[in-house]
Point group: C2
Chain length 264, copies 2
Amino acid sequence: MIILKLGGSVITRKDAKKPTLNPVNLERIASEIAQAKVEKLVIIHGAGSFGHIDARKYEIGSEIKDEEELAWKKMGFALIQNTVKNLNHFICHFLLNHGIPAIAIPPSSFITSNNKRIKSANLAMVEKYLEMGLVPVLHGDVVPDENDDIQMAVISGDQLVNYLAARLKPERIILGSDVDGIYTCDPKGDSQAELLPVVKSLSDLEFLEGARTVDVTGGMAGKLKELLELAGEGIQSEIINADCEGVLMKALKGEKVNGTIITK
Amino acid sequence: MIILKLGGSVITRKDAKKPTLNPVNLERIASEIAQAKVEKLVIIHGAGSFGHIDARKYEIGSEIKDEEELAWKKMGFALIQNTVKNLNHFICHFLLNHGIPAIAIPPSSFITSNNKRIKSANLAMVEKYLEMGLVPVLHGDVVPDENDDIQMAVISGDQLVNYLAARLKPERIILGSDVDGIYTCDPKGDSQAELLPVVKSLSDLEFLEGARTVDVTGGMAGKLKELLELAGEGIQSEIINADCEGVLMKALKGEKVNGTIITK
């Protein structure tokens, strides 16, 4: 079984001011997934511009000061859920068009968190759909949080990768990003940037020039933290460039591609 | 707490050849729900033209003859899930626009059936969202079925009403239909039709002229069966006309409206 994460920056226009799909990438990516013919596959997608705009606006996950703010945040919670549901609908639409029997299992319908970390999540439906030969699709979403001070949290696609991988023990974890992998510094701003074929620790990265830049450009540090936690448990993952034609298909087939392996 | 069912014939163009919303009704209904200011509310909506067309085409719930049919049905299952998700997105959109914090909990993400009847469904998330003051929204959907001969089933909004009402014990159950209630015969075809203010048994109805007609026009017999099962457990429900301006709002507020009460 493979867990494939599709980054929000690949499937949406992440810097758009309103929810904006990247249909060209989605069409190509769905086609590459179909061609790779993976026997058992779980897809997790980010929310990109469909989730981040309102998640920031409503500050989901921050402390709630009074009843007024609580009522406001509840509406934000519901709005975000409906917007990421819409994104998920589009993604499944492209997958279905390429013959992939994609079944959404939105985290908001079965996950609760405690201080923004997944607390309980019954994976029986994910396992059931896998057993049926369908392709479960999860995504970054809002969930109820047990901490009364915040009551609601955003669960990122990367945290879902961490949680599911630790429990479902996939053979491989592939993270489709909009860059080739982890660089010594920001590859979009510095021509001296070098791709790191292997990363073993976040603390290693802190010594690297540009580590802060890496964080700003797409929350790579947050992603890395989730993946290094997994690596610590002996579960290896690979960051590859899903923005670049053919790379995802090759990676799914097990062929060698540029990228960064996160391991212990 | 009130459980409100919105029939597929009210929120969609049920006889359309492709999924077609009824935005005029949806806008009015969302406004009426908002004005009624119900403290605790669960909404269950039908699938209408967003679900029934493909459910019939792929014969979800019928016996699977061979591997080829199984593969075909799996695609149908996934397609239907994505289409009703789209309907749910639109419905939540209208509700949110009227300030109702609607949170979808799709049955396909937490329910399994056995021979087309709900077998297991953990209602913890429904209860959690109610406790948070949000409005859980469920809908007719496809679910995995334990019977190996069929493997997949369609769970109607009416079956969800039955299941949830029996467990959540709402004060009231209101079914918004496109007719005033249960008639002695088809009110759309026979001017002699009389509205039954109370129905206590399906066997009573079989003696009524037009009972078969009732069945054909919108599956009213199937709906009645679910409600009579509930009535047998001492849980009363009301069918009202949500197609008619103001009726739903009055019913939600507890004011007297035309309709049929299903009781024991």
